[in-house]
Symmetry: C3
Subunit: 257 residues, 3 copies
């Protein structure tokens, strides 16, 4: 059985290793994959977005732990979910909400209170033990009580009219590529793609862009993405999450571009 870990802890303080130790103590032979510990501190959307990218690629039975938890020790609940045969474990602040929102079917549970849990490190004291018990085969409903109202995250939806689609950048990746909220099925032949008022050439893959050229493509998550050939687009254009993205039919503007 396998557990994945996604946090904003960095690794240098040993917080992640403390979680791994707590897992190994309960489930010594479980395999633990680091997803990432480099989520920007407290960035719930970035964590939710990353989780969405990999959670279904793992086989059924995998336990995905997400700890980006600025509300640790407050009234926010600690959750476990069973979704499409995988398990999700994390705080009830939306880090799991993007996946749950898209899922056809799921069960969510509040993790039973842990008597000796600290108020400041539930990664070690609550989430890691719950994940280890799930990976070791415990039945999810013995570890918590069912709830129906987890915190959702809903990314801003694109606005589509007959002649245009308005969207925005929802994630900037490690390469500085700007990922929008516009899904592939809204991108039509002949569409002009713009980001922050700049026209991008629509291409099939990164290598189609000349060095320095602004391009747009359908990325591996089937979303419209903007990049610059052999460069960091976010850095070059000084753009970040929230930047305006637009698709419109070529004939809709006064000039051909």
């Amino acid at each position: 059985m396998r557990i994945t870990l996604l946090t904003d802890f960095g690794t240098a303080d040993g917080y992640v290793a403390a979680m791994k130790g707590a897992i190994a103590e309960i489930a010594p032979s479980v395999l633990v994959d680091d997803a990432s510990h480099d989520i920007p501190p407290g960035d719930i959307i970035a964590a939710a977005f990353a989780l969405r990218r990999y959670w279904t690629l793992y086989p059924e039975g995998t336990v995905h732990v997400v700890v980006v938890d600025p509300g640790v020790g407050s009234e926010r609940r600690a959750l476990m979910a069973e979704v499409h045969g995988r398990f999700l474990v994390g705080p009830d602040n939306g880090v799991l909400g993007l996946v749950l929102k898209d899922a056809e079917q799921f069960r969510v549970f509040e993790i039973n209170a842990q008597v000796h849990a600290s108020r400041t490190f539930h990664g070690r004291d609550v989430f890691a033990p719950a994940a280890a018990r799930l990976a070791a085969g415990a039945s999810i409903d013995t570890l918590g009580r069912a709830i129906t109202d987890p915190v959702w995250i809903i990314l801003p939806p694109p606005i589509a009219t007959e002649s245009s689609v308005l969207g925005e950048v929802v994630h900037v990746d490690h390469f500085g590529n700007l990922i929008s909220n516009i899904p592939a099925d809204l991108v039509k032949a002949g569409h002009v793609a713009k980001i922050a008022e700049r026209v991008a050439r629509v291409v099939g893959t990164y290598a189609d862009g000349e060095t320095g050229e602004l391009i747009a493509l359908i990325n591996s998550d089937r979303l419209l993405e903007f990049a610059i050939g052999n460069a960091n687009a976010a850095g070059s254009l000084h753009l970040e999450r929230g930047a305006a993205v637009e698709l419109h039919a070529q004939s809709s503007g006064p000039f051909l571009m």
Copy 2:
């Protein structure tokens, strides 16, 4: 069996992977957990502090390797220790010394000289092989000779009087939280907590702090820690390891704060 690795190597050069390969060659089925490779270069105290956070959380039999080793190839010894059922492996420069100092019982060994070891990469040539052999079940006393004088690290102790406790910051974590050397049992109800002459409100957990508010709490290692609500305290206050921390009885100052 499981080995953890803590280094200041970063990963991009392949030094860590070389250690993992050397382990896999000797003990192909051992599980290897990355604790961290982001210890600041040469920062023995940071490594010792991180190790202390996780080493006992792992089950007995775990082998914890720490390679922060500016003295590689010099006269400094290469050590293995058996402590509370776990094994520690690393250079004799103090990286293991904080754990050993706190342990009730331990045995320390100098690792036998390796004939073909380089003078510049004992992570690969000395520590990884020793760890792999321990994880594979070798008896520790067949791999080295007992010694009694490892290099200790002793963090500066806090100074407690009847009305106050003077301490200092001993670690700044990934979130910019400032961790002091004052243990929870020296923090009394009614104490005023100060860092670098600023008064912090004593709270139970991070989320109790308003955005921008300086707070103090007992952290998950039972130490007094200073943070700022939704911000990086070390960055905002321009403080680092060594900053002065103070607790005093409320009535000790001329003004109520």
Copy 3:
């Protein structure tokens, strides 16, 4: 069986976790070691250099995956190789070429086209599945067709005359140490070692250097390397890959140094 992963993806976006999920789906019990995900974006030479450092240290049967792939989705081929009992998997852009060039014997294959592969993420859609199948025991020649012309990387060779050796820096490591292309067997007793016209004292290991002193030594890959005692040499000297390195017999200059 064990797979290692070397990429320039960082971890925060979940791209690496997507690769690990794709592996776990095909080969659930395979062990996956992170070599690094911190290769500078698109830096094929850095990836090739890192791979060369660890690939033979792992036992036979290990599958080493390298994804630094600016040409993803273009005409560049996807490769697998069998070399000295290990497997290499990655794009045909030179990331594998440094190892292949040095190998005595190898077989290289173009990975069969994957019907549902995206054009932008072959790490997930092509390389991870091929690696998982190799680790699970598939015969390499059932997964692709043999080729004979992979892209090589050949580091610039040093130029040796009777009285001197001229080389250059081919890698700067995490510590700022400057690694040259001059192998140990070209370094003779009495040689004066220079980098960017500065004379370095030839020593045995890092700790032999005084704080701030420029030193040269034979590193753990048997290459001439320059460092500064307790400092970051690349940062202090403002040097990078390509900086000139020189060895010459002490009597060859007009002045003794």
